[in-house]
Subunit: 337 residues, 4 copies
C-alpha cells in the first residue's frame, strides 16, 4: 500500500503515520517530492485495519498495490482453469452453451425444451426452480419439484443441469438433483450464501451483480474458493446504467479484463442483459468473438405464455438458427462446439 | 396496463393481442390514433404473465399504470406510519438518531460508545455483529457475542438496539438480543432473507441497495410486510454512480419521492454514503432539512484504530458537536429530538 | 401520447385535462379502468408544450408513443443508408476501418502512420487536430496545421480522412482539408455545433455522448440531418458507468438496438471505450460479430511517446495482426474488407 | 505521480521506466516492497505525456498525487471567493437566489415573473434565451430578443440577470444585455465555449455536466479562469444515474466535497435535478442546510402553459412560500437573505 500525504504535510504528521505503521509490525519507505511525500508500506496491510490511516491528519489518500483476492488471481495461477460439470467441461477448449427456460414451469414443458436445446447443441440445461422476483406477488418458482424435473430432464437427454439457489435450504436440495448451482446477480454479495455454495461441493456459476465492479466480483468468487471449492465459473449478465433501451448494459469488455485478472472460466448471458430476444443473437456472436468460454441463453417453447422473462426467450427455431450461426465463429476462436 | 402497438400495426396483430388479453379474463379498451393504436387493459394484469405480450408481433411497449407494491403504498395508507423500536418511536414526530460503531469490537468499546452517543442525544444504538465484507479476508464480525454486547450496552444505557442480519441463523440470534434488525444494502433483494425478516416479528430497517430503484426498494419492503410485519423503516444510504469523490452518491431526493409513494418512515445514513467523516455533518443537516425521520451515523471512540469503516466514523466530539448543531434544524421541521 | 391519470382521479380533473387538450386542437380518447383512467391524445403533441400536462391535478404520467426523431428513424426509411466518404463507403456492404493517431503530432509522424494503417487495410485515416482535453494544460492539438498534414497524408496514401471539429472555426477549416468531420462525445449535445456540421456539407461521424441515451443520440443526429445533411454515421465509444477497470463501458448492444431504430451506419470505437490496447482486439472482433459497419482504432508509431492516449493505441504490429484476425469474421458477416 | 510496477517486475523493466523518466528531466525515487516496487516521480509530470508510461512492460498503474487544476484549487487560494454579479454578490455571506422561467417567452411574461421573484426575495433573474433542446423540433428560444427582455426586466426590478450561452455569437450578444452568463450542463466540456466565456469578462455560472466527475468540473472551471476570468460560480444540477423517479439525481454531497477542493462559490439547482415542482422545496432547504451559497429555481406564472420545463416550475405562490420557509434555515447557517 502507498500512503499519499497532503501537499506540504507537516513533518510531525508524517512521523505520526510512520510510527503507527511501524508499531503494527510493518516497514515504511519514505519518498519526498517537491510538494508531496509518499510513504510506501511493506508487509501485510491487513494489520492496519480498513483505511483507518485516512483519519490521520494530512493523509490525502491510500493506494492499494495488490489485489485482495488471491485464489481467483491469475498472478498465482497463470493457466486458465477448466471446470467439470456433469459430463461436460467449461474452459478454454470448448464453447459451452447453457440453455433452457427462465423458470421451470411443468415437467412436460421442461422435457420438451431440454430435447430441443440438446438437439441444437447445448450441453447444459438451465432452468429456475427458485426465482428471485422483484415483487412478492410474481411467480416464485416450483422449488424442490422444479429441481426434480431438472434431474429427470437431464437424465433423459444426457444434458448436465444448473439451477439457481437462493438459500441454504435451496443448496441442500440442489445437491441432490443438479450438477451445478448458480448464485444470481442479486445474491452476488450475499456472503453467507457464497460460503455455503463453497461448502456444497458443486461447481458454482457466479453471476455478476447488477452494480458490481469486476474487483468485487472476483472477491465474491474468492469467498467460494476459500471454502475449498475451486470450481467457480463467472457469468457476465449486464450491469445497471442509465440506458433504458436494453434491460441492462452487457459489459462485454469484462471478458478481456477478466482474462488479465483471473484464471476462472467466463460465461456471457445475452438474454438477461438485453431483455429482448432480438438482441440475443448478435450479442451471443459478439461474446464468442471476444473469447468467452460459453453462453447462457433462455429458450422457451412458447415465449408469449412464459411465466417469466418471455420477452427475452428464444423460440426453438430462433435458438437452433443461432447455434448454427455460431459454429463458424467458434471455429475461428478455436473452440469445440 | 396499457399496450402500445407499433405505428401502423396490422388489424390482425391488434386483434390477436385483444383476443389474448380477453382469453385471460381481462377487458380491453381500444384507442386508435393517427399512427398508433393503444389498448387499455382493465383488470388484474398479473394474469397476463410477465411482459409476455411483448412477444406479439407489432406490440411496441407495455406501460404499467399501477404499482406492484400495495401494503407499502401511500395510496392505500395515506397517513405516515410510526414504528416502535424498544422504548422509542420512528415516525413523523421525532428525529431519531441511530449511532454507534460500524462493527462491535469488544464489550468495553461498545459500552463506552453507547454512553457517549446516548449523552449526545441518540436513542438507538447501532453496531454490526455480522459484517458483510467485500473480501473474505476482512474482519467478519463477532456474531452472537456481538449481539450479546449490544444487549448489555442497551440495558446499561436505556438505548434501543439495532443489528444487521445476513442469514436465518443471524435473525434467530438477533431476536434474542436486539430491538430491531437491519437488512443491508447488499441483501436488499435477498428475497429469502426479506421473508424471514418479515416472520421474525422485529421491526426491520431496510437499506436501499447500491443500485436499487426506489420502486424495487418499495417492492422489497412489500416482501417483509406481506409476511405480516408492518414495522418497516427505509434507509437511504447512497447509490452507486461514476463519481468517486464520495464512496457512494447520497440520493437525498429519495426522501421527498418516498413521501409521495409510501407511508413508511425514512432514515438517512450520511456515513456509508459519503464514506468520509468530513461530509457527515453537512449531509446530516441536509437530511433533516428535507424532512427525513432520522439519521444513522457511525461513531467510534478511536476511528484510526477501528476494525472497519474508520474513515467515515465520527469521534465523540464530532458527534456531540453535530447533534448540537442539528437541534435548531429539528425545531424548524417540527420534530422532537 | 397517452395521459395516465392518478388512481381514482376526480371527474373534474379528467375533464380539465380533456378540455385543455381539445383547446389545442387535438383529439382525446378516454379509457376508464377499474382504478385508472387513461386519455389517448390524437394529433401532433408538440402543440401541447413540454410535459406541461404534468401540472394538472391528478395527472400521474405522460407516455410518448412516437419518437421525436423522424429523419433518422428507420420507420420512415427502412433500408440501411450508405455514406460516401472520399473514395470509400460506410454501409452494409463494407467493414470500414478508420485508423490513425489520437492526435496529429507532426507531418512525418502522420505520414508514417498513414502508410502503415493503409497497408494493414484501413480506408480512412483518423487524426485529431483539435483536441478536447479535460485539463487546459494538456496538449490541445495543432489545429489548422494538423488538418493540412491530414490532407497531405490522405493524398499520399489514397486514404479518406476524418478530423474532429470543436467550433465553427474548426468546421470552416476542416471543409478545406478533410473528407469527413467528427463530433466528439463531449459535444454530442452541443446543438449549435450540430447545426453547423449539418450545414457544412461534409459527412459527419457523430460519437455517442458519455452519458447519452440512444434516443438522445438519435435526436442529436436529427439536428444534423434536419439541416439538409443526410450523411450521418453513428459511433459507439463507450458510456460512463461505475466500473473503473476500463476507461468507459463499451455498450455493444447499442449496435442491434440502433439497427431496430435507425437506418444510419454504425461504427464502434474499441480504443476510447476500453482505454487499454490489450482490450482493443477482442472488442473489435466482437463489434464485427454483432454486425457493426466499421471500427475506429487508434494506432501510433510509438505509443509510449504519444502526446495523448498512449495507453490505448495499437502499434503497427498490433494493428496489422488485428486486421488479419478480423478478416475471417468479416467473411462470416458478409462484408467486404 | 507514483508509478506502481506489477508484482515481481523484472529489474530491467524497472530500470527502463526510471531511465525514461529521468531523460525527461524528472527525478525518481524507488521503493521496493515484498512483491511490488513503486517509483515516485518528482517534478512536473506534464513532461511525461498522458499516461504513456502505461505502455512500459510491467507498469501496473499510475497514481496522480496532485490535481491538474491550480487556479480553482483551494490549496493555492484557501479563502472562499465572492463573485459580484450586477449589484449583488455570490459568496460565503449571502444566500443568493436566482429565479425565473426556464425559457423567456414574451416581454410581458418575463416582467410579471421578474416582479414576483424580486418580491419573494430573489436577487438574480434567470431566463433562457438560447435553449439547448434534445429535439430540433422543440422550442429553441427567442435568442437576442430574449436577452433584451432580460435586460428590461432587470432594469425595471433592480434584479441582476443571468442567461445561458451556447455559442460565441450568444456570448457576444449576452455581453451587451446581461450581468452573468451560464454554461449549461451539456456544454460543460465544450472547451471552446469555456475559453470564450473566460474572455468575455462576465461572471460565469458553470453547471456540472450530467456525467461529469467533480474533478472534471473543476478542470472545466480552470479553462475559464485560465483566460483571466476568476469570476466562476459552480452549479450542481443533478447527475445521470439509473434512477428514473427523478429527472436526475441531485448530488448534494458535491457541496461539502467542493468545499474541500475549491474556493469557488457553489449554487444548487433543485429544479432541473428533480424535474418535479413537488421536490423543489425540500431539496432547496437541504441545499441551504449543507451550506450552498445559493439556489437556482425555476418559477413560472403559468406552469401548465410553459413552453419548456413546466413540470418542475414553481408558481408564484409556491415560490413565495418556499422563500419564507427558507429564511430560518439561512439564519442558522449565518447567511444574509
Amino acid at each position: 500500500m502507498i500512503i499519499v500525504m497532503k501537499p506540504n504535510a507537516a513533518e510531525a504528521s508524517i512521523n505520526a503515520v510512520v510510527s503507527f505503521v511501524q508499531e503494527k509490525g510493518l516497514q515504511t519507505h519514505l519518498s519526498k517530492g517537491d510538494e508531496v511525500t509518499i510513504i510506501g508500506v511493506i508487509g501485510n496491510k491487513s494489520k492496519l485495519g480498513d483505511e483507518a490511516l485516512l483519519r490521520f491528519p494530512e493523509v490525502a489518500k491510500l493506494v492499494p498495490v495488490t489485489e485482495s483476492y488471491k485464489l481467483a488471481n491469475k498472478q498465482f495461477h497463470p493457466d486458465p482453469s477448466t471446470v467439470k460439470v456433469g459430463n461436460t467441461e467449461i474452459g478454454p477448449n470448448n464453447l459451452t452453451i447453457m440453455a433452457g427456460p427462465c423458470a421451470v414451469e411443468t415437467n412436460d414443458q421442461l422435457m420438451v425444451i431440454a430435447k430441443a436445446v440438446k438437439e441444437a447443441g447445448a450441453t447444459i440445461l438451465r432452468g429456475g426452480a427458485y426465482k428471485p422476483r422483484t415483487s412478492p406477488y410474481s411467480f416464485q418458482g416450483l422449488e424442490e419439484d422444479g429441481l426434480k424435473y431438472m434431474q429427470e430432464a437431464g437424465q433423459a437427454t444426457g444434458l448436465a443441469t444448473i439451477c439457481e439457489v437462493v438459500s441454504l435450504d435451496a443448496i441442500n436440495a440442489a445437491v441432490k438433483y443438479v450438477d451445478m448451482i448458480q448464485i444470481g446477480a442479486r445474491n452476488m454479495q450475499n456472503f453467507y450464501l457464497l460460503k455455503e455454495a463453497g461448502k456444497s461441493g458443486l461447481p458454482v456459476l457466479l453471476k455478476r451483480g447488477l452494480c458490481a465492479t469486476i474487483d468485487e466480483w472476483l472477491n465474491a468468487a474468492e469467498y467460494i474458493i476459500a471454502e475449498g471449492n475451486p470450481n467457480v465459473v463467472l457469468c457476465e449478465r449486464g450491469i445497471r446504467t442509465y440506458e433504458t433501451a436494453t434491460r441492462n448494459t452487457l459489459d462485454l469488455s469484462a471478458v478481456p479484463v477478466l482474462r488479465e485478472k483471473t484464471h476462472l472460466p467466463i460465461i456471457v448471458d445475452p438474454s438477461h442483459s438485453t431483455g429482448n430476444y432480438l438482441y440475443v443473437p448478435p450479442m451471443a456472436k459478439a461474446a464468442v468473438a471476444c473469447n468467452a468460454d460459453g453462453l447462457m441463453i433462455e429458450v422457451h417453447n412458447d415465449p408469449a405464455h412464459a411465466l417469466s422473462d418471455g420477452p427475452q426467450s428464444l423460440t426453438f427455431d430462433n435458438f437452433s438458427k443461432l447455434t448454427k450461426e455460431l459454429r463458424p465463429f467458434t471455429q475461428i476462436v478455436g473452440r469445440k462446439f
